[in-house]
Symmetry: C2
Subunit: 191 residues, 2 copies
């Protein structure tokens, strides 16, 4: 298998983004993460912060907008189509790592993919979001559960893939148990 593109899906706080960046550095190829958000904001005209959430999470209004689809596509649908196109064009530019954004699904038939999923238990992730992102919530665990739930709902709606099911990925790694460095090593060895 000649894995030209690595997609990394991840649980919030698991270090998937860090793993993606370190992996790309190691392999000497670009890592797309915030760059996608930037392109998406530019192309759609929406605010960057809005795009960041709406392109990956089911928002509070997501389910009510589902019911409103008889009135035509929603903002989420519009963003999804633009995101789809951006990821397809990134994949054509050459080998890279793409973090999140349903890239595994979008590129499923088009690229030579290694599809990774990074997860960790809630204690590891809660400690990490407090330490790395300086999260100040009373309950980082509650925030993680909420993020997981919304990300899973978004994935399910647009991709019909069950997020976090091993069968959807070539490799799934527990970054809390194995360590971020070891995860990078394993993925690099598969490239």
């Amino acid at each position: 298998m000649n894995n030209r593109i690595v997609t990394i899906s991840r649980e919030f706080g698991s270090g998937g983004r860090t793993i993606g960046k370190k992996l790309a550095d190691r392999l000497g190829i670009p890592c797309y993460d915030s760059e996608i958000i930037q392109r998406l904001a530019d192309k759609s005209g929406f605010d960057e912060q809005y795009v960041k959430n709406a392109g990956e999470y089911a928002s509070g209004g997501f389910f009510s907008t589902l019911a409103n689809r008889t009135f035509g596509p929603t903002n989420e649908d519009y963003l999804w189509r633009i995101q789809y196109g951006i990821i397809e064009s990134i994949a054509k530019e050459g080998p890279c790592v793409i973090v999140g954004r349903c890239a595994d699904y979008i590129l499923r038939d088009k690229a030579d993919l290694l599809r990774a999923f990074i997860h960790a238990d809630i204690t590891f992730r809660a400690e990490r979001i407090v330490k790395v992102y300086g999260e100040r919530e009373d309950s980082p665990e509650q925030r993680l559960r909420d993020k997981d739930r919304k990300r899973a709902a978004y994935h399910r709606y647009y991709t019909d893939m069950k997020w976090g099911h091993a069968q959807n990925y070539d490799i799934c790694l527990d970054s809390g148990r194995l360590g971020i460095g070891r995860c990078v090593e394993i993925l690099a060895s598969l490239y």
Copy 2:
């Protein structure tokens, strides 16, 4: 992490058992698979073939026996308790690889574990069961789906774990995409 025991859960036909045996050979430690069935048959007095299925799959009568639990424990419950004890005692004997039998769940608090899940797409598995096991069914795919369903139901009932959810394992590998040899290498590197 000092992984003294490796547990391998696997989809039927994915090569998980082969990976377990090759891994154990590589590490110079025992691999428990059919040995567990043998011990279970000896201890329970049940036939080996019965034990092989009843200790890992929900049988045709499994769900009707669930309804009959008001009449006391079933044969499956009895086997589960013996299996639990056998796996605990194997873990005390020293480092090893254990294939299947819910060992990941049984040892979750007791041993220094590396919990692996091996899966592959249905085409890879169907070809493999015909080639390796000489399966002669008209539809090996249908047989695989049936096996998957019964194994998932058994796991869910006795362990309350969702079988095949990445979050339940330290590492999940697609043996069809990565190859059996590469799976062995990755697991050996983590030991």
